[in-house]
């Protein structure tokens, strides 16, 4: 990934899978997009999401107006196939049981390169579809990067595949479930280079992001 300048890495497999999966998801779901203009055509940004379902990252990677990289739990990469495939479709491993400086470094490098990075600020899927508390470390990390933060809601994924349930992946056609992918206006927190400044700004930033996520998840 590093050898190539921003915007020039081919990500061919990612693009092909995006195209293929879009057919599947459109046949499986009735998908509506709102606020896509809020995603900048170029330049770095963070997309912050509330995690409701396993479908969230698949839908985001397939339908985000720009190629997006997301932080994914490291256990996803345990098999050889996934360790090879997942990074090629924009997944960055993060160890969830400890603070993982490597995933932070990689995400900041992607931001420096002008890419968009998706973050599930709650750190795990919700059991009941409600927004959970946002992780302190994630908010500090967003403040450190100092780029626009775009709250994004995927409405309807919890109804299709909740954390405690299962889904019939082969069901297509009639009776498609509605899903809304909604992007809110970017939030600009400004630069917070030092730790003290980030600590001071964190409670307010947490509240602003949480309220924006609540608003974007509203039906």
């Amino acid at each position: 990934m590093t050898e190539r300048p921003a915007g020039e890495h081919p990500m061919v497999l990612y693009r092909v899978l995006r195209w293929t999966m879009s057919f599947y998801f459109r046949a499986r779901m009735k998908i509506r997009f709102e606020g896509e203009d809020n995603v900048p055509e170029k330049g770095p940004f963070f997309l912050v999401l509330s995690h409701q379902s396993d479908l969230d990252s698949l839908l985001l990677h397939t339908f985000c107006p720009r190629l997006i990289f997301t932080l994914a739990k490291s256990s996803v990469f345990r098999t050889r196939l996934m360790a090879w495939l997942a990074p090629r479709v924009g997944a960055v491993p993060t160890r969830r049981y400890q603070i993982d400086p490597q995933s932070v470094r990689v995400a900041l490098r992607l931001i420096e390169r002008g890419e968009g990075v998706g973050v599930f600020a709650e750190g795990e899927r919700s059991w009941d579809g409600k927004l959970q508390p946002l992780r302190c470390g994630t908010i500090s990390f967003l403040l450190k990067a100092g780029v626009p933060v775009i709250p994004c809601g995927l409405i309807g994924t919890y109804e299709i595949l909740p954390r405690w349930g299962h889904m019939n992946w082969f069901k297509l056609g009639f009776g498609r479930e509605p899903v809304i992918i909604r992007y809110a206006e970017p939030i600009h927190f400004g630069p917070h280079d030092d730790r003290t400044s980030r600590e001071r700004a964190r409670p307010d930033a947490t509240n602003r992001i949480a309220s924006a996520l609540q608003a974007v998840m509203a039906r």
């Binding site: 050898e3 490291s74 345990r78 160890r95 969830r96 059991w127 009941d128 302190c136």
Partner: protein
Amino acid sequence: MPIHHMLYRCPRCGHDPLGGRKGRAKCSSCGTGFQQGRGSLILVHPPQGPVEKASATSLLADLEKMGGPGTGRERGTGSSEESLLREARVAFGTAGGYDVIRCWGEVIGFSERISWRGEGLIRLEGKSLTFTPDGKAAVRRDGVDSDAGGEGFSCLLGDIRGVQISSGAVQVTLERGQLYQFEFVDDSAKRWEDLLCLALRCFYREKGRSVIEFKPRVVTEWLPIGSDR
């Protein structure tokens, strides 16, 4: 994750535990069945009468009213702080190194390698957590202490650095950064995560601190002066 991991006790009669498999669960006491309906709706089959539809939110709220994951003792109604809260059989693994994840020659991260080591008994008491692998006894001293085999441990709750649920198992990080992963043989991983979090909250509240978050590490802050400890 199976539905009975989320509904670890019967939301109708409170019977504990609620047995089940995959998309179905059934209470052995009142006979009420729970089944995943269309989407996120749960179909509740009472022993008599028509099928009801309920949301996960309402059923989880019912569980919370019944005491959540705890037994009541941790809320100050028990006779002793050291009273047993819960124990369960588990298959356990420990993190033994990392796999490096690369993409086009660049290291983009690491994935922990979990080595599954066998079964044992995990036991949560008022202020401590003990894990004893089969055939080995954990040594209890102050702080984290391993047994001769290096696999069991007994620690004060204050020595737990992080608790989280991951892929149907509960991960516990101890003081020296050791990661244990527990898969429950006949209990719910979510209940154990909730229970450990509740026990940690009580533990720190007694010390005048409140827990801000449990993962990736336990973070606490002082309670305001004059607040109820």
